[in-house]
């Protein structure tokens, strides 16, 4: 039974290739002919660890196409386009609605239509109601598949999910065969629930994570002013059964990348529209927006104020490791804010000058940012940054000061002899 993934954004590309790797016949459809051509040739427009290899081994099971008529042969059609967001992180569902309208005429009767795009509560039920009213002949069953993609771990997350969350209008009914075979191969619990519960579960997960990030950052700041060490405290918290070993407790410059922000803004809007107290959401978002100030004020305290135009080395431009994405990246904000007042040199393993226009110098070697620098600011958590060349730092920098925004060197700070080290929570 063939399953189609329509809308080959990051989510669609990973999901379609992942589904094909299960041995399931897969159609990956997009209207962008150039994208389809690239995918057919094995050229991926996104970076995810393991994805290229997965495509290579699954090639026989996946067809990339821009012919929408090909949907007529599919038993399940999954709308997998990521919901675009504005600079204010507001979701624009219009492209998803347009995509659904485009595919509808090509669906075979009794096909299963699955929404994987990050829609807001109520979307799927309305879609089902509209379909039942406009095309009762098709008897389309609508499902919602909660995606839990993490940039940089998308393949792992797709192939080894902790659970699958499926929203439907009949949570007690069996899942369609077109999907159940593949789900069984993923080997995890499948939780069926109402549409609205599934739509909100994704947001609930992200709000919990965002609140955890806020919690960790708040406590790290308290540590800095009372003389505590957050690193010492983390194990004590993780061993509390109510908090747990996987609790997100690493302080940072906040969440970025667009996904958490999108979901929080979505539920914030729902709260405001329905009269629900959105205080928690308001403060988590506002706190996150201000979190960037940590590095600004640290640079102010340690780097500026000495009369000379400072030289600042920057490691990390993407919003986190293992991704090409710079969406909402604090590093880019840092460059916008400081390029006029300081000489900035930057390096990132995934970003080149061709990727982003910047009024600074992008160096080709990681440690070239150190030359004559008054500070090295580590903006994200690429693994590469956890193995610094300490003697090179001491020799090459004008002042061997490291401001570590990601905590990537925290566990090794006792090995940083000769380095002035500043990190969150210390």
């Amino acid at each position: 039974m063939t399953v189609a993934f329509v809308g080959l954004s990051h989510l669609g590309i990973v999901s379609s290739i992942g589904w094909a790797s299960l041995g399931e016949p897969t159609l990956a459809l997009d209207s962008d002919a150039n994208l389809i051509e690239d995918l057919q040739q094995g050229r991926l427009p996104i970076y995810e660890p393991g994805l290229e290899q997965l495509l290579s081994t699954s090639r026989a099971k996946i067809d990339f196409s821009c012919r929408i008529q090909d949907l007529a042969t599919c038993d399940a059609v999954i709308i997998s386009r990521d919901v675009p967001t504005s600079d204010a992180n507001l979701s624009d569902l219009a492209p998803i609605q347009s995509l659904i309208a485009e595919v509808l005429p090509h669906l075979r009767p009794q096909c299963v239509l699955v929404i994987m795009s990050q829609v807001s509560p109520g979307f799927c039920r309305k879609l089902r109601d509209d379909l039942n009213a406009s095309r009762p002949d098709l008897q389309i069953r609508v499902l919602y598949w909660v995606e839990t993609l993490i940039f940089g771990r998308a393949v792992e997350r797709f192939l080894h999910p902790e659970r699958l969350i499926i929203g439907s209008d009949e949570p007690a009914a069996n899942l369609p065969e077109s999907l159940s075979h593949g789900f069984q191969q993923l080997g995890c619990t499948v939780l069926q629930m109402k549409y609205e519960s599934a739509e909100l579960t994704k947001t609930a997960i992200n709000l919990f994570l965002a609140a955890s990030v806020t919690y960790a950052n708040t406590l790290a700041d308290v540590c800095e002013v009372v003389g505590a060490d957050w690193c010492e405290m983390i194990p004590a918290l993780q061993l509390d059964g109510r908090i747990g070993p996987k609790a997100y407790l690493q302080p940072s410059l906040g969440f970025a990348g667009g996904n958490l922000e999108r979901d929080l803004v979505t539920v914030q809007s729902v709260c405001r529209a329905r009269g629900v107290d959105a205080g928690l959401l308001d403060e988590v978002l506002a706190f996150n927006y201000r979190r960037y100030h940590w590095v600004v004020l640290k640079v102010r305290q340690l780097v500026f104020g000495h009369g000379k135009r400072p030289v600042i080395g920057l490691w990390g431009l993407t919003y986190k490791k293992d991704t090409h994405s710079t969406k909402n990246s604090p590093a880019l904000q840092f460059i916008r804010d400081f390029h006029a007042a300081a000489d900035i040199r930057a390096w990132d393993p995934a970003v080149t000058s061709a990727d982003v226009e910047m009024p600074i110098t992008l160096v080709s070697q990681r440690d070239d940012v150190l030359d004559n620098a008054d500070a090295l600011v580590i903006m994200n958590d690429w693994t590469n940054f956890s193995t610094p060349d300490v003697p090179a730092m001491v020799q090459r920098m004008r002042r061997p000061l490291v401001i570590d925004c990601s905590g990537v060197l925290l566990s090794r700070r006792t090995e940083l002899g000769g380095i002035e080290y500043s990190a969150m929570g210390l």
């Binding site: 201000r290 100030h293 600004v296 004020l297 102010r300 500026f304 104020g305 804010d337 400081f338 007042a341």
Partner: protein
Amino acid sequence: MARAVLLGNSGFVGRAVERCLLRASLKVHGFSSTTLDLNQPAALHRLDSLLDGDATLIVLSGLTPEKGADVETLARHLGMLLNLGQHLQERTIGHCVYVSSDAVYPLRFSPITEETGVEPANLYALAKYAGERILSHACQVSGSSLLVLRLTATYGPGDTHHSYGPNRFMQMALAERRIQIFGNGEEQRDHIYIEDVAALILRLLERGATGTFNLATGASHSFREVAELVRDIVPDAEIASVLRQGEITHRHFDVTRLFLTVPDFIFTPLDLGLRAYYQACSK
């Protein structure tokens, strides 16, 4: 900036700002309440020839709390601002600067940023915030740029307000060799040296800054710390503690916006500012 027009040039901040602008060789026209009564609308026409697209208007006029904290004072204060607003909305000027106060913020939030919600707790704070809104409206109508500066506690020679903190401590120490603090002086406040205020206003104007800025150093100190610094500067001064009247509150500022606009500005450290204060008063 072809010329600066100062309203309120005889006040503590006004005098410092005028000196700073003159040192920068700028053409300055200063007015006080005795030379231009803002409560008289007709008086504002004296400014007609001065206020144009090349002018920067700096509004320091106001009725500080020691001049009255009652409704009548509020009415006079608002009257001044309304007359000024009426006048400004009819002419486009290069830049308008309104010196407001951190009194517009509640004490329960920390750290304060420019996004912190305002909550004027007394009539003085209400007048200051009203001034912000009145001039914002006037500038919007006339197409003028507006810079609003919310000033934290300002100290230095020439202070006339005797507010609790560095000013009162220094003045008491000089006059009586006695510095009185409430309780143990635990409250944390951000204190900015008067010369830094004036220099920052000039720097922000040079940068063409608009919008709202909190003028604060970003470093708060307890009243006890301040008292101890004054005691160590003024010979034979002693600290006396009296019963606290109200609850302990603190105020801290996140000065990211200010820092990013003028990243090379160096604030006068509190101990140096107090020392300069003492030296100025000792002459």
